[in-house]
């Protein structure tokens, strides 16, 4: 994958102070989410750690399991950076912990997709610094 990465691939800013634990986790093969210490409520998108005075939030490793809430299949015209993946199955995964995360599917075909289908996270290394959590059938 790395060698083939298109120069215009929309890589995320992994140094974003709020999102950094998510991207660092992905690089280490972990799907990281954020929750409130007191209530266990999961926040997605994550909030800054100083939220409401600080000390209320913690990051934790999620189960990496979820179900397909919805999906779309991208055909041309598409961004050149993704052309090698077309038809691209972009997916909205409702993870066991609650939030719905945007991702894409690997290891399946468009015709095998179904609502409620169980999926698990796998990690796709794009560069030395960027690894994407993506999804495959569980």
């Amino acid at each position: 994958m790395m060698a083939d990465l298109h120069p215009d691939y929309p890589l995320p800013d992994v140094d974003d102070p709020v999102m950094r634990p998510f991207w660092e986790g992905a690089r280490a093969g972990k799907l990281m989410l954020q929750r409130e210490r007191g209530t266990g409520a999961v926040h997605w998108p994550p909030k800054p750690m100083y939220w409401k005075g600080g000390g209320r939030l913690e990051w934790f490793e999620a189960s990496g399991r979820g179900t397909v809430y919805s999906w779309v299949i991208g055909h041309e015209p598409f961004l050149p950076a993704f052309r090698h993946l077309l038809p691209l199955v972009m997916v909205l995964v409702e993870v066991e912990e609650g939030p719905r995360l945007v991702g894409y599917m690997v290891g399946t075909k468009p015709e095998r997709m179904a609502f409620g289908m169980r999926v698990r996270v796998v990690f796709q290394r794009l560069t030395d610094r960027v690894t994407l959590p993506v999804w495959e059938p569980a």
Partner: protein, 393 residues
């Protein structure tokens, strides 16, 4: 009417401000002029329509996406001096809010006559923002674009597909929206698609762009420049056109908002429009049943179906069947997108929907709803949005 304070404050605006002039340049695939030029002419046309001159203007409101400066437009127009201006963010969510902000400025005495406009050159494929992604995606975009979810058709397709699954909405329902818009456009000489009929067979055979959405589910890409003039009803009495009174206005971000990939509401279908509708109807004496037609934001056909639900014309999940039997076409119970909308007239972030609403109140649409007294205009669902109700005097 649950909040008396909100209602009392809003009384200062309700029916006190009106759209008194509208204007636009011919829509085109390639207009051949920069928006710094077309915007000025569109505003001049709207002033001519109203019977006003540039010297009457002291306020300006436009979309934040415009690359132009108010001062340059004002100078070229011949405005003496601007006393108030504002730019509204979120593209298709912003158009109605230009009128809302203008109305608030006029009602509060910060300005007397405000021009609102949208000038947009997007006919060329290379001009589309989603085709220009560059490395290091920041902030909200980093939540979806690294996985390829960038094209608006895919962002909306996520909701559309789920709606099909959860409520049994069919592609034919989306088709009803596309065909209604097209039939209206076929009777609108200003519409890009005036000469291009569309039937269900053609609709269903449309090329897949982002499954489940196809070519005919997508709006046009158009170069356009449009403007409207907003002033007080007192001034409106002396002007050339029948005023379209600004009866209710609202803006809403909804809770836990994400720009574009706004998928974490519960339930997920309750996106920004639901919250915008709640505020709008709370401020409005007129309710959905009083609308003689509706201009519902239509970057993609499913947005009209969810818009009908969000704005209370039917229950959640019933938007698909609502489109059946010609109900949303001229002659039906609720004609929708009577100019052809973004799907078939021009895609200009919904600013054409405001102009069409004013025409309906004047009785001058080419798809005139007989005796139209009130109409709804909405902005894009999913992004932070806005809406307005216009009525006759």
């Amino acid at each position: 009417m649950t909040d008396p304070i909100d209602r009392d404050l809003f009384r200062r605006i309700q029916d006190r401000v009106a759209i008194v002039g509208i204007g636009h340049l011919p829509f085109a695939k390639d207009i051949g002029r920069p928006i710094s030029d077309t915007a000025v002419e569109a505003i001049q046309l709207a002033l001519d329509d109203a019977g006003l001159v540039a010297e009457d203007v002291d306020g300006m409101c436009m979309l934040e996406m415009e690359s132009t400066h108010e001062v340059s437009i004002a100078r070229r127009l011949g405005v003496r001096g601007l006393a108030w201006w504002s730019k509204i963010s979120y593209g298709g969510g912003a158009s109605c809010a230009t009128v809302m902000h203008a109305a608030a400025a006029i009602a509060s005495g910060l300005a007397t006559t405000v021009v609102c406009h949208r000038a947009r050159n997007r006919g060329a494929a290379a001009s589309r923002p989603w085709s220009q992604e560059k490395v290091l995606v920041k902030d909200d975009k980093a939540l979806h674009t690294p996985w390829g979810l960038i094209r608006p058709v895919d962002v909306i397709g996520m909701w559309a597909h789920r709606h099909m699954h959860e409520f049994g909405t069919k592609r034919e329902h989306f088709g009803n929206v596309a065909i209604a818009a097209r039939r209206h456009a076929n009777r609108n000489p200003n519409a890009m698609m005036r000469d291009r009929p569309l039937d269900m067979k053609t609709y269903l055979a449309g090329r897949v762009i982002g499954y489940p959405l196809t070519l005919y589910d997508c709006c046009l890409e158009t170069d356009g420049a449009l403007a409207c003039v907003v002033t007080s009803v007192e001034r409106a009495r002396d002007l050339r056109q029948k005023p379209a009174l600004v009866h209710a206005v609202a803006q809403a971000s909804g809770p836990n908002p994400v720009h574009l990939a706004n998928y974490n509401n519960t339930p997920a279908m309750e996106t920004t429009s639901v919250f915008c509708a709640q505020t709008l109807w709370r401020r409005s004496e007129l309710q959905p049943k009083d609308m003689d037609c509706a201009q519902i934001y239509d970057a993609f056909t499913p947005l009209v179906i969810t818009g009908l639900e969000d704005y209370g014309f039917c229950k959640r999940g019933e938007g698909g069947p609502f489109t059946e039997g010609g109900r949303i076409e001229l002659g039906g119970a609720l004609p929708v997108l009577t100019s052809g909308g973004g799907l078939s007239e021009a895609y200009v972030h919904g600013f054409n929907l405001i102009l069409e609403a004013a025409r309906q109140i004047r009785g001058k649409s080419t798809n005139q709803v007989p005796g139209c007294k009130a109409t709804l205009v909405t902005g894009a669902s999913g992004v932070a949005t806005s809406a307005l109700v216009l009525r006759g005097a």
